[in-house]
């Protein structure tokens, strides 16, 4: 376990968190190299199916991050994302996905330091949780014993 490096996928919006992560770079603030950023126009665009797909493909943790409430470039996309997250969170917990492996955060274009902090704390948390194989193992279970 000592050499476990978590794979973390970050789904971020173009206008706030992507720009915020750019600012982290411009400010030369170091953070854990475990995170891979995927750019969306808005958090409202983020289909939570992609969160499931990420786990299915071997992600250990997922960050969803966008503009603070009321600051959305598209007026209300982040509110839809938040509401979707509330519903998804319940459902994910219910079906057995470890919701501690999903981090929802607001990082604005001016919060370069916050982005580094979000990534670092979350990477450490996921490192402590260990590799996430549940989802993949579940997918491998043969269904012959399943009660239909």
């Amino acid at each position: 376990m000592a050499d476990f490096e978590p794979k973390i996928v970050a789904f971020v919006c173009n206008w706030c968190t992507y720009a915020g992560a750019d600012l982290t770079g411009t400010s030369r603030i170091k953070y854990a190299p475990n995170v891979r950023i995927i750019r969306f126009p808005c958090t409202g665009r983020i289909d939570f199916m992609l969160v499931m797909k990420s786990f299915a493909n071997g992600a250990d943790g997922i960050i969803v991050s966008g503009c603070h409430p009321n600051d959305c470039h598209y007026t209300s996309g982040n509110f839809h994302a938040r509401r979707r997250w509330m519903a998804f969170n319940e459902l994910a917990g219910f079906v057995g996905i470890d919701v501690n492996r999903i981090r929802f955060s607001w990082v604005s274009a001016a919060e370069g330091a916050k982005w580094a902090e979000v990534v670092n704390t979350f990477t450490e948390e996921v490192r402590n949780l260990g590799p996430y194989n549940n989802y993949i193992d579940l997918a491998k279970v043969e269904h012959k014993d399943a009660i239909i």
């Binding site: 794979k7 770079g25 190299p33 071997g58």
Partner: protein
């Protein structure tokens, strides 16, 4: 098989210091579908761009990934280069190796691996990119200006003088706004009406401007370049074509004691009235709430005396629809409701007035013909106290901002007072003197040095009456918070400027955003100060934040410049990163099932209903349709769509899934 080119930039040493660029380029060349891969010291330089262009031609590339800095930095550069090489610019993507990798990680293998991962995801994405073309929409070269104050007037005149049509609507019977009520203006003390009224007349006479007074926006549809506005023309009870503006009706009207809005309730008007003598248009309206005929069904004196028979008691509100390409919102501000200050005794004591009332007292056209007289008994006040920041900068009362204009107009008031009452004393209670602006500080200094206004730094806790005097009880913080009491004859409150009545409602009609104080929000505080978040709708003047006249005029001219730019083209081009509903050939037509869940989530009202009909015109199916002129490309509808029938170009479901899969399956 795709033929993707990967171009890895060293960015001098910005990337290559922590990322092994040679290795990255080599690994990238092994990715499926990558036909060419190279690293170069400065990809954004001229030779770097030439490298990209030549590789596109030479290797017949059908997609480009530039692994360099943030797309927010150089995406336009490389998309332009791609287009110059004959490839659709939207087939070029940037992998952010600098801001998101080399600058934030140390020189380790993990950093280089991350760079490789980033490129792999973008290669998979770009394989699924499709050529996109900027969207063209026509432009109606008419602007709608909402509000006829000085900002609206300036914007309308500038837009009209650039050769465009303007429709101006004003909710009151006359244009002119707050500026027409002012006596003199700072920092020059020139007469407000003398400089404003010629411009008001210009608006009325400009052949490019159509003016509707007593009119309000009813609703708005459409999008930039193509708005459709419904305007309510409130019934004036008058045939304007017949009215000559002789004013006989106003002199004969028996209802004479209605507090005048223009005179800030210090004077009276009749039920059929022209708000002020220089009003534009100079034709009366009947105030239905106060007219005896409308209340009791009897009177009609105005109708009897009108020499041209212009009075129309049966006139109804009319709603007209206009097509406009741009909208300028210049609805201005209002002063804070003075119920806010029970401690200052406004409403309780007649001689506690607002700054705007003082303007009317000082105005030559005002109720006292410019003599400073107290409202209670008409005496000339010998001691007058001005209280600044009445409401402003007071978090306890919910207004944290500085109203900005009060420091200057209070200095002006003290000067006007001293110029008219030579033996009088003017006291000013202030928190700070904020007079930034050309010749502003000099002006306020003059009030103190030349006109002898007494400035006291401190707040007033209470105003109360004692022996016919108003006792102003405050504190002087420059004298160790020593309590101060002044026996005043009159008190003037520099009340906060707040958002206009109905600002919230108007913002919702226009779909523009507003702040916590209901002032309209600009698109970007620094770089887009006159635009709103809704394309084609612009702001001018104090509806955006408290502003003085020069600032309002400057902003209005800035806005007019933006509108003129917009109107200088016959067509607009927009980024094609927008949503589109799935369509296919019959018999399916579309996978959209017409649930229209996408409609309420769209922040831009871009989703419409489209009926698919057979040849005989029977409706087969009703599906969603994304209006390309309105869609801004947020993609909220895409994530929500249950049948996955909406895609957003540049961020399709396929692309995003491919990115996820490529990222994790190494």
């Amino acid at each position: 098989m795709a033929r993707i080119g990967v171009f890895v930039c060293h960015c001098g040493s910005n990337i290559s210091a922590t990322v092994d660029c040679e290795k990255v380029a080599e690994v990238a060349s092994q990715f499926p579908g990558v036909a060419y891969s190279i690293s170069y010291k400065y990809m954004c330089s001229d030779p770097g761009q030439t490298l990209v262009k030549e590789a596109i031609k030479e290797h017949k590339l059908d997609g480009v990934v530039v692994a360099a800095c943030s797309p927010r930095m150089h995406e336009p550069t490389f998309r332009r280069a791609t287009a110059e090489a004959g490839l659709n610019p939207y087939l070029c993507e940037m992998a952010n190796l600098r801001e998101h990798c080399s600058w934030v990680h140390d020189k380790t293998e993990a950093t280089t691996n991350k760079a490789i991962d980033i490129i792999r995801t973008l290669v998979e994405k770009v394989k699924r990119n499709t050529p996109l073309f900027p969207i063209r929409v026509p432009v109606t070269k008419t602007a709608l200006v909402i509000g006829g104050g000085v900002a609206g007037i300036q914007a309308a005149l500038d837009i009209a003088n650039a050769g465009n049509k303007v429709i101006m609507i004003e909710k009151d019977p006359s244009i002119g706004g707050h500026m027409s009520q002012l006596s003199e203006t700072f920092p020059t003390l020139d007469c407000s009406q003398c400089i404003l009224t010629p411009r008001m007349v210009e608006v009325a006479q400009n052949p490019n401007i159509t003016l509707y007074t007593y009119a309000e926006l009813e609703s708005l549809d459409g999008f930039i370049g193509n708005f459709k506005a419904k305007i309510r023309l409130k019934a004036k009870s008058l045939d304007e074509k017949l009215c000559t503006g002789c004013g006989l009706c106003c002199t004969k009207c028996p209802v004479k004691k209605i507090p005048s809005e223009f005179e800030e309730k210090l004077g009276f008007r009749t039920a059929i009235y022209v708000p002020f003598p220089q009003a534009v248009p100079n034709k009366p309206v009947i105030d239905k709430n106060n007219c005896t005929y409308y209340i009791k069904g009897k009177c009609r004196v105005c109708e009897k005396v009108c020499p041209t028979g212009a009075i129309r008691f049966d006139q109804q509100d009319e709603i007209i629809e206009v097509e406009v390409g741009a909208i300028v919102v210049a609805t201005g501000f209002q002063i804070l409701d003075t119920d806010f200050f029970p401690e200052y005794g406004y409403g309780k004591y007649k001689d506690v007035i607002t700054g705007m009332q003082f303007e009317r007292l000082a105005s030559a056209s005002g109720p006292t013909q410019g003599e400073i007289k107290r409202p209670s008994d008409g005496q000339v006040p010998k001691k007058i106290v001005f209280i600044k920041c009445a409401g402003s900068r007071d978090p306890a009362k919910g207004i944290e901002y500085c109203s900005k204009i009060c420091c200057m107009y209070t200095a002006k008031h003290t000067m006007l007072y001293k110029h008219k009452v030579h033996d009088g004393d003017a006291y000013v209670f202030y928190m700070d003197i904020r007079t930034a602006g050309k010749n502003y500080e000099e002006f306020s200094r003059r009030a103190i040095a030349e006109d002898g206004a007494h400035y006291i730094r401190g707040r007033v806790s209470k105003v109360y009456e004692k022996n016919g005097k108003l006792i102003v009880s405050g504190v002087d913080t420059l004298l160790n918070a020593m309590p101060v009491e002044i026996e005043a004859d009159m008190v003037v409150l520099a009340t906060a400027g707040v958002a206009g009545k109905g600002a919230e409602e108007l913002a919702q009609k226009l779909h523009i955003s507003y702040d916590q104080y209901k002032f309209f929000s600009e698109a970007h505080p620094k770089l887009k100060p006159v635009e709103t978040n809704t394309a084609g709708i612009f702001l001018a003047g104090a509806c955006h934040a408290p502003k003085d006249i020069p600032e309002s005029v400057a902003m209005a001219s800035g806005t007019a410049g933006k509108v003129a730019c917009l109107f200088s083209n016959d067509e607009l081009t927009r980024e094609p990163i927008i949503a589109e509903v799935h369509r296919t050939s019959p018999p399916l037509f579309s996978t959209c099932v017409g649930c229209f869940m996408c409609q309420p989530v769209c922040p831009y009202q871009a989703i419409e209903r489209e009926q698919i009909k057979d040849r005989s015109g029977n409706v087969i199916k009703e599906v969603a349709f994304v209006n390309p002129g309105l869609c801004q490309g947020c993609g909220t509808c895409v994530a929500l769509c249950r049948s996955k029938s909406i895609e957003i170009h540049g961020y399709t479901n396929n692309q995003m899934l491919a990115e996820v899969v490529a990222l994790l399956n190494v």
